[in-house]
């Protein structure tokens, strides 16, 4: 038996097929992951993401600590509510985890992955040595994500006036507290929407209200195809501790300026940046019938080989897509080995769909 979120019983009652995800019993789907995917792109749906890890960082040195810990620079957060996406690196420049950090009223709030919880907390505590800072996990909080073009409007109808006002005001990639809830206009689907962090004991009733209002529950199967279409990385697949952000389409998340900011992994990354032949993460589209899957080999004419890091059937495109790490000079064509045969694929930017529109 894995760990269970406060919504476990409701998932069962809603007909979920449960699976293990990083030690948690989570809903894979409630009937059809393809249908759930379409629901989010067309309207909205609600995800239980309570397995994710919320960590608050406070204290006199909170800012300088995070400026050392994270590859992106929290100094860029000019106002309470602003958030940024960043990698947390080891000394070799490899990714320990990817996360979102919000500038809170007091200190900062980080949301890190479920599967890396123990590792991240140990790392963060170890790196806090010498800083006047408290790194506090918030396991008593649950998290629900409502995602889709109608997510914010539908959610605002169901909450208090104060929270509804906040929802309407929130700019993209911002998050603020409203009473004992924290509402972020963030997500993992490529659609507009909200991620709501709330006390665990309030989560079951809130989920009931959302579902009762006709917002369908969405499982991890659809979560994966949605994020893949949006070109959003999955830690453990698209990057690991042995992969640098420069090889994982995350170069844009590294704040090189100011040069005096010596974040962990900086020197390793600078050495890498000087190399022109680093493998890169690209998107692949299979125009024929078939499904691209993680670990399939990619062959690039005259360049060598690479590997698919994440692959699936894309319900929005109606064909298979993937993220793959390939030789630096790869242009717009490659081949993938699927069950012993080679199939041609188009090499594209690693973002396939944005706000419901196909980009590739």
């Amino acid at each position: 038996m894995g760990q269970r979120t406060p919504l476990y019983d409701q998932h069962l009652a809603l007909g979920a097929k449960m699976v293990d995800f990083g030690g948690w019993d989570m809903p894979l789907h409630y009937g059809s992951q393809v249908e759930e995917h379409h629901q989010v792109r067309r309207d909205c749906g609600v995800f239980d993401v309570s397995h994710m890890t919320v960590v608050d960082v406070r204290g006199a040195d909170a800012k300088t600590y995070l400026q050392r810990l994270l590859a992106n620079d929290v100094d860029r957060l000019g106002q309470v509510g602003k958030a940024l996406y960043t990698a947390m690196l080891n000394e070799r420049g490899g990714v320990v985890d990817d996360l979102i950090v919000y500038l809170a009223e007091e200190g900062y709030r980080l949301v890190v992955n479920a599967s890396t919880r123990d590792k991240d907390l140990a790392w963060m505590q170890a790196q806090a040595e010498g800083f006047t800072v408290e790194v506090t996990e918030r396991p008593e909080l649950a998290m629900l994500a409502v995602q889709g073009p109608h997510a914010r409007a539908r959610t605002a109808e169901l909450v208090s006036q104060a929270r509804a006002a906040l929802i309407h005001e929130l700019k993209p990639f911002n998050g603020r507290a409203a009473g004992d809830w924290f509402i972020g206009r963030t997500g993992y689907t490529g659609e507009d929407g909200l991620e709501i962090i709330l006390p665990a004991e309030q989560a079951p009733d809130f989920l009931s209200e959302l579902v009762g209002a006709g917002i369908p529950p969405i499982g991890l199967g659809a979560r994966d195809t949605l994020r893949l279409e949006a070109g959003l990385n999955l830690y453990g697949q698209d990057m690991t501790e042995d992969v640098s952000p420069l090889q994982a389409n995350m170069g844009w998340t590294v704040a090189w300026q100011p040069v005096e900011r010596d974040f962990i992994g900086r020197s390793a990354l600078e050495a890498q940046k000087a190399q022109s032949d680093l493998p890169k993460l690209v998107g692949l589209v299979l125009e024929e019938r078939g499904v691209l899957r993680a670990h399939q080999i990619v062959r690039v004419n005259g360049m060598g080989e690479g590997e698919i890091t994440s692959g699936s059937f894309s319900p929005t495109l109606g064909k298979a897509i993937a993220l793959a790490r390939v030789p630096a000079g790869t242009a717009d064509r490659a081949e993938v080995e699927i069950r012993g045969k080679w199939y041609p694929v188009r090499v594209v930017q690693p973002t396939f769909v944005r706000h419901g529109k196909v980009l590739v």
Binding site: H29, S32, Q33, V34, G221, T225, G290, S312, F313, R339
Partner: protein
Amino acid sequence: MSDIPSDLRYAASHEWARLEADGSVSVGISDHAQEALGDVVYVELPEIGQQLTAGQQAGVVESVKAASDIYAPISGEVVSINEQLTDSPENVNSEPYGSWFFRIQPSDASQLEKLLDAEGYKASCDAEA
């Protein structure tokens, strides 16, 4: 609890077989199989005229989760394939027993009797778990 109609025959590899009025045998995959596979996105069918031996790979059903081979439950010639499934693979999930993949003209009608009946198939699934 998966649905296992009692008027069909089954292979341990999760195909069902139904004797049609014209003597041909329709083949599809069971409710247990479609549930385990998840959303089906592609099916690969055999060719009309293909000669199949019982247990031989006859097609592929590809879902979001994995690609799975389909095996001929009995020997014979493929006389018909269900091209509708190529256009609407999701029918395999919603109507597993209404979604036949191909029809075989059996070379040996007694092979059908040797397949599992509903009870035998259920026992086979339970043993697999």
